[in-house]
Assembly symmetry: C2
Homo-oligomer: 420 residues x 2
């Protein structure tokens, strides 16, 4: 029998009792932020559940991790706490459990309609790293910028390539993105131009939220890396391709990325994703021993990007991809990140890089979809080489279970013009 | 007449009353961290000064900025607070002022011998950015890795090139550095090797500590950028050259840098450095308008690196350089960083990149000094291509005033072997 909740959950909902993703919200504009879990069209206020003494397991009974402004303390407690919270919450919300179901005053306090709440960044992000883990994306970028001879750099098949991103400009879904200004370069020996970016793009990514960290100097074994990952969110790594192309040699992307990065508010736990695990692609050449994991898995998460131009009613789907296409898994990414002794901290974010599939209609950014502007994309009534002011970009992602979905909700942002 | 303090200050001290750099310290191992100012061989405990009601100016009178575990709140208050604190402290410590001088019980509480305290990171660093602002360094790296044709990339003369660094692994001077493991690549089509880095290096840098930040989407004007910089520290951006060389294409340095970055504990304010301002190098081509500052200045800060091999008594000076050699000023760096709307926050760190001078004996890292290991450096009894286990690397820097120094103390770290 399928587990079900006394809270009504539509079959198309991303948030059935099988999911229970974590976020941080304000029930009223003047309230303090607090952790919550999504269930159907409600948010379960975990500070209320904790104050009512309903986290009664050995790990969480005396913890104040749900009386915090963010989830850092909870995610830092590690898998025993996550497991215990999931068991407690699945029981509390199940159709057959009277504790919350039959206590109308507690229920009213604990379950807040999702439409009423304001979602915030779920964690304080100390450091944000962005990988480059999709082979199709790496190959397409190479073809576009370097041509058909060796589009993928030789290091790529040995290293989960990554760069440090900017943590301060990570924003929650729904935050407007201001078109950045910067330098671009036409070609040859011309001087650079300066102004609003002419090649503004989205990048469809997901990101892992780090749970317990590691001490400086102590790498995490790849086979234990999953214990350091709390869950996943959707991420839009907005990119100004003209700024990026001119600045990135030799130290990598900088201002082409750091004007804004959007994440979805709900962290879907690896426990909720486990039924949707899929084998990671076979690696050739085989990875070095520190990256050779006993079980190498991705998750079957369908991803979709829509664009809604200013003033239009309808959104237009521009790509469909899947998390399962990643070449380097999130556990390989994390193990690689720490192999030099680099310390991770709870709440750190590890982006996957753009997740492109093998087919042209599954590419994860406009750079690839329009082949750097050479093949404009049709958006119903108009076309796009890159994003225009007023465009709203909406990501969504979900796993399809038997009779239910485990989803991520949406990750959206609208482009505002550069202020003069 | 030269300003002097009732606290005895040796003429060779880096910390006369003209300096008054800020740090965070613990007077006893069990104490809470608190802000302090260095004066001679003492640390003035600012929490004691504040509790005694001696910050009586309009900005600081009712502030709790010195009853904090770090300096973030104080540096975020901006120049009016910094000016007021400097006036208050220079008066309080002056030879002619009785308030502290003649109050032995307050003096005993407020002035702690420097040898007794433990220094900590002075600020919580939200984001750390590292620039590449020395032309001599950029040129030498280009000559070593790409050869004599166009050693400096065309973008370099238009953009203060930078990358996002890793904030979590920034440590305070005196912290041991564990030799990182990672992948390197011999040459050609050979597979990569894996193990302890064979090319461990220091990079002599300085870093600006950001004061008030800016809102996302609101760039800082280059002529107002100095109001966003509290002061400078010494910084050693330890680098594993073999890891870096293999990983950095196309997204820049990652694990070759993120195993550790050391900063000196005392932040020397721009106010203390002002008497040592020097004209920045003329720029050709002229920078774009957003980088064209009315007054373009560096500071005349003599920098020196020594190495002390394990078991040896003596240190050996390996290079002498100067902050005044920077091509892109720290205000240009900051203005560029925000031109795309990227938000800075109080306590963020902006590294200058390796500061190399024009002469071979002023190069700022072993990569340049030994020309990538081709010309080993003599260290008294031994030679070095790169750093060996047990080597202690000590940076120091100071400005020479008339009869006094304004210095940074030291920034040091010792290499420990990779654990097996």
């Amino acid at each position: 029998m399928v587990l079900s909740s006394f809270v009504e959950v539509h079959p198309d909902s991303h948030f059935p009792i099988q999911n229970l993703p974590y976020g941080v919200f304000k029930p009223e504009p003047s309230s303090e932020p607090r952790p919550g879990v999504a269930i159907g069209e409600y948010v379960l206020d975990l500070s209320v559940v904790a104050s009512a003494g309903l986290f009664d397991g050995p790990v969480l009974k005396n913890s104040d991790c749900f009386n915090q402004l963010n989830l850092n303390k909870f995610v830092g407690l590690g898998r025993p706490a996550w497991k215990e919270a999931r068991v407690t919450l699945q029981k509390l919300l199940s159709a057959t459990e009277p504790t919350l179901r039959d206590n109308s005053s507690l229920r009213q306090k604990a379950l807040v309609p999702m439409v009423k709440v304001q979602m915030l960044l779920p964690v304080v992000i100390g450091d944000y790293t962005d990988f480059f883990a999709s082979m199709h994306h790496a190959k397409n970028c190479g073809l576009i910028f370097r041509g058909p001879e060796n589009p993928i750099n030789p290091n790529w098949f040995h290293i989960p390539i990554a760069y440090h991103g900017r943590a301060s400009s990570i924003v929650i879904s729904g935050t407007d993105i201001i078109r950045p200004r910067g330098q671009g370069h036409p070609a040859g020996t011309s001087p650079p131009y300066f102004g609003p970016s002419r090649k503004l793009d989205f990048e469809m990514e997901m990101a892992a939220v780090v749970g317990p960290g590691n001490e400086l100097g102590k790498p995490v074994d790849v086979n234990e890396a999953a214990d350091h990952i709390f869950g996943l969110v959707l991420m839009n790594d907005w990119s100004a391709r003209d700024i990026q192309a001119w600045e990135y040699v030799p130290l990598g992307p900088f201002l082409g990325k750091s004007f804004g990065t959007t994440i979805s508010p709900w962290i879907v736990t690896l426990d909720a994703l486990e039924p949707f695990a899929s084998d990671a692609p076979k690696k050739n050449p085989p990875p070095l021993p520190y990256l050779a994991e006993k079980i190498s898995k991705n998750y079957d998460i369908s991803l979709q990007v829509s664009v809604k131009p200013a003033g239009e009613e309808d959104t237009c789907i521009v790509t469909r991809s899947n998390f399962k296409h990643l070449y380097w898994t999130i556990t390989q990414q994390l193990a690689h990140h720490t192999i030099n002794g680099c310390n991770l901290r709870p709440g750190d974010l590890l982006g996957t890089g753009t997740i492109s599939g093998p087919e042209p209609e599954s590419y994860g950014c406009l750079l690839e979809l329009t082949w750097n502007g050479q093949k404009p994309l049709s958006l119903g009534g108009s076309t796009r080489k890159f994003l225009e002011d007023g465009d709203e970009v909406i990501f969504t992602g979900c796993c399809k279970g038997e009779g239910y979905l485990v989803g991520f909700g949406t990750c959206s942002g609208k482009i505002l013009p550069t202020p003069s």
